[in-house]
Amino acid sequence: MRKNETILDNIDWSLILLYFVLTILGLFNIYSASYNEEFPSLFSFSQEYGKQIIWIAVSMFLGFIVLLLESDILWKYAYWFYAVCMLLLIAVLFTREINGARSWLGFGSMGIQPSEFAKLGTAIAISAYISNMNIKLQSQSSAFYANLIVLFPMALILLQPDAGTFVVFTSFLWVFYREGISYDFILGFILRLIPFVDHTRIKIGSNFIPLLIVSGILVVSTLLLSQTTIQFFGMTLPGFWGLIISISVFLILALIVARITVMLRERKKLYYILIVAAIASSSLVFAVNSVFDYLKPHQKERIELFLGLEEDPDGKDYNRNRAMAAVGSGSFLGKGYHKATLASPQQGHVPMQSTDFIFCTLAEEWGFVGGILVLSLFVVLLFKIIQIAERQRSTFTRVFAYSIAVIIFYHLAINIGMTIGLAPVIGIPLPFFSYGGSSLMSFTMMLFVLAKLDSERKNVFR
């Protein structure tokens, strides 16, 4: 009976719809962001908007092929896909440098960026590897190989160099977190070096990843507060004390809550964890602050510039400054379609406004409303993918879905974040919006592979 069901019956049309909406919005945004008065038609194939139409057509064709293929191919040949991607990443290192990086594999005037496809290849490989692991997957060697699958392309990408894609690959940590891959073997290795600590008793497991992120937030906060002071009961204290005080207050509140809600049996252990966490966080804050004070002025300046504390609007900070001015000038409803005065090709104030800084044109022309709308569409897409992930019986599909969710999320967070001054300026495309064939094809295939896998969720148990 199931055999009679076609793919069309089981496919998640809302996912496909979201894809179409984002892609079409993206196309029209490029039409404005790289508009050339000499070629007013959207179908001017010499222009970026005309070319993007071709890329959309090619991408959709590829997506269509994906839907027609047997999904067995994916997991059967997962490592072959991965291998091809890695070979391309190696091949690209032997090309000529363009703008200080070897990222393009050219065929005449056309070219592809292997690093865009490497994300997809790596996602498939990781899905295959994790779904093939048995229940004892917490073994050190499994964790090691899973990490290796990610680290290998990262190393190759660093050689190009392409900092943006490198950072995106770290998103796989979230996949490992969800799948419970433990980092205790690495932590144990480090903790072994510290005297009086019994590393064998520390079992953090895959919680290492959120801890890492919380630590990151603490480090950045400490640096941001390093040049400030706060008033506390009449005392003038360095800014980072605000963090220490917050941690202390948080600890006290947590202890009170724990006393009320947690059973006596469990309470002692929880107290212990909370106090250790508070001491560890405070120590981290102290340590970061001391190191920062110890730095030489030029090193401090670089960090401050990176964090946006020191402005150099016409120098090192040029791109971010122009991008933020474009976004800020959009106001509530924007200046109107084709009416950008900063993120427009004629004025050229915002660099790369059709690729890395594509969000500027959107935010300037459609304002807060347009920005929020697109941001919301992405959030809906991400939630949808995670919803799809969690309904799978197949580990392969779930891991794959999580992989593409976090990849898209990282692209979104870094790309939009850098135009609103919340992320460092590292060039990565905004999925479906930035001009470029490689990224569009790669993201399209990610979604269509997911749609294909998802459509078989009922008849596959793997």
Binding site: M324, A325, A326, G328, A405, A413, I420, G421
Partner: protein
């Protein structure tokens, strides 16, 4: 594996938090905080002010007194220079390579450095490389310049004073300061404003109105188009041209005659109050105070001990000397204390006098400039016997006199159309009460009867007095503007001001003035000019700073006068010797268009009181 399912919430939570933070951030950046909007304006918009041409100023016969001269700066944008042929460029501007390097270096240095010691010079911005080329010089290089990419011209205009004269009338312009910016929001830093003279008084007419163009600026700082279809743009409105009452030839001639002398010459057309010449000596070339050289030249002029910047006709207060006897005589007749046929003997014990026949009438009194004559007229004005108390009596008389004198435009600013005219001084009852503790009578104050003592007047007031004599009893407020293009001149310049002395009483006085010049024994025989019927009155004002001031007021011809004039030559002695011939030469020049009395002219032009202080 189900034990790990809760972790989807951690991932979802993280995504949601990020989206939330981004939304708040965008809301703040785009809606609440203005910082980025202002930054965007700064980056992408350019409000270009278009400057109107300033009004041109002509004299009464259409000669240009103030013109605009166009200058060209050669601008360069270093980034846009390509295939630069140094040799050809140097040839074009007639400089050598070393000079070119130096000019370039100066231009870069001029931009200053930021706080980190880095130059503010930007290769993508335009800067003036060669400045101040005249139109002629520019036209020689204009076509060739197009062959040098990255170079283009920028037009500027500066004021030019083609007659090189009339500095005190025309005034000068300089850059606005903080006070100007506060007073009038029309001005922006770097604008020029008329500081003195006509440039100042008619600033609002001359300046026109600036226009505004709202433009777009691209990333290189180049103008890339207009904003919103130029909806809010306004065109510059050119300044109004002015026609002055001044006669450029007469003005220049007056300045020539006054060379080497300190003082003033003011000539007015009595029938209209139009100022024909306005000479303040020593003067300076108005072209010295233009553009960038103003700072240095202004300082030099300011430090000059002869005070060439001082506007003497408006601001120098002198005693009127014997010219004031005209006023005394007129008031005496009007008040009825004397009549025109009254004789007074020349009693030198009352007040010193020179030897002359007895004045048998008012006209004789004027002709001989007899001091005791006007002493006795004035004593009858002040002491009319209306009170038995001599002190009270003198107060009644002086108060009446004061009102009459004021009606001659004395003791108050005339409010001509130049800023800064001073009131001069005519003593009143209150003043003497204060000085003499209320115990004063004519005998205390008699020197005012002959224009000495406390009486103080300006040369412009004296010229106005000459007009009153010429008009037999009225004057127009002297003024410099004849017409303003597209606008009427002020009504107050067309209003007759009558003195409180009836017209009929002027005849004997005017008769006396004619005789001063034309009859033997008159004090100003040197002013006689064939066929011109000059009427005048000499004055010799004592002053504490040295030799007497030589004064002469006159008008001509006697009937239907065309010109009235006042001449002051400081420390030059008797009025008839220097001031009178200067006045007559001016009158001749104006009425005949040329001067035939060459010996007289030569004597005046060659006389230099600054190098040769002896009088004759």
């Amino acid at each position: 594996m189900n034990s790990l399912e809760y972790r989807k919430f951690v991932v979802l939570f993280f995504i949601a938090i990020t989206a939330g933070v981004f939304s708040v951030r965008m809301f703040y950046m785009q809606i609440i905080d203005d910082k980025w909007k202002l930054r965007a304006e700064e980056i992408s918009k350019y409000k270009m002010t278009t400057y109107p041409t300033r009004g041109i100023v002509y004299d009464r016969s259409g000669n240009k007194l103030i013109a605009n001269e166009t200058y060209y700066d050669i601008m360069m944008i270093e980034d846009e220079i390509s295939n630069f042929d140094t040799t050809l460029f140097c040839q074009l501007f007639k400089i050598n390579k070393e000079e070119l390097v130096e000019i370039y270096q100066n231009m870069v240095d001029k931009q200053g450095k930021d706080k980190k010691g880095k130059s503010n010079y930007r290769k993508f911005k335009p800067y003036p490389l060669i400045t101040g080329l005249s139109s002629d010089d520019f036209s020689k290089v204009a076509t060739e310049l197009q062959k040098f990419p990255g170079f283009f011209e920028n037009v500027r205009t500066l004021r030019k004073y083609p007659q090189n004269s009339g500095a005190h009338v025309l005034g000068y312009m300089n850059e606005v300061d903080g006070t100007d910016l506060e007073k009038d929001h029309y001005y922006r830093m770097g604008d020029y404003i008329g500081r003195t003279g006509i440039e100042n008084y008619y600033e609002e007419d001359l300046r026109g109105r600036k226009g505004v163009q709202y433009l777009m600026k691209d990333a290189r700082g180049n103008i890339s188009g207009s904003q919103e279809e130029s909806k809010y743009d306004t065109a510059a409105v050119p300044g109004r041209n002015l026609e002055l009452t001044l006669d450029a030839d007469l003005q220049t001639y007056g300045e020539l005659l006054m060379k080497g002398k300190i003082g003033s010459v003011v000539a007015i057309e009595p029938s209209s109050g139009e100022i024909l010449a306005f000479v303040s000596s020593p003067t300076y070339d108005p072209n010295l105070l233009i553009g960038k050289k103003i700072g240095k030249n202004f300082l030099t002029l300011q430090e000059d001990s002869l005070k060439p910047l001082f506007n003497r006709p408006l601001q120098a207060k002198y005693p009127p000397g014997s010219t004031f006897k005209l006023v005394t005589g007129l008031i005496g007749m009007q008040m009825g204390v004397v009549d025109s046929n009254r004789a007074f003997s020349c009693i030198k014990s009352l007040v010193n006098c020179h030897g002359h026949p007895t004045a048998l009438s008012m006209s004789d009194g004027v002709k001989y400039s007899c001091n005791p004559y006007f002493y006795q007229v004035m004593s009858r004005i002040v002491q009319q016997g209306k009170s038995r108390n001599i002190f009270k009596d003198s107060k009644i008389g002086l108060a009446e006199w004061y009102e009459y004198v004021r009606s001659f435009g004395l003791g108050q600013p005339l409010n001509i159309d130049l800023a800064g005219d001073i009131p001069g001084f005519i003593p009143d009852v209150e003043y003497y009460d204060k000085v003499y503790n209320k115990a004063w009578a004519f005998s205390t104050i008699y020197s005012i009867s002959i224009g000495q003592g406390e009486v103080g007047v300006t040369p412009i007031q004296m010229a106005n007095l000459a007009c009153i004599m010429a008009n037999r009893g009225y004057y127009y407020v002297p003024h410099l503007v004849k017409s303003i293009k597209g606008k009427d001149i002020s009504d107050r310049f067309q209003e007759k001001h009558y003195t409180k002395v009836k017209s009929e009483y002027f005849n004997p006085i005017v008769e006396g003035m004619w005789r001063v010049v034309h009859e033997p024994g008159g004090t100003a025989r040197r002013a006689k000019t064939e066929g011109l019927n000059v009427c005048g009155k000499t004055g010799t004002a004592q002053n504490p700073h040295g030799e007497d001031h030589s004064i002469f007021i006159a008008f001509a011809p006697k009937d239907n006068p065309k010109i009235a004039i006042a001449v002051y030559v400081e420390n030059a002695g008797f009025g008839g010797t220097w001031a009178a011939p200067i006045a007559s030469l001016m009158i001749e020049k104006f009425l005949n268009g040329e001067v035939k009395q060459e010996a007289k002219e030569k004597r005046i032009i060659e006389k230099n009181f600054l190098t040769d202080p002896s009088i004759h």
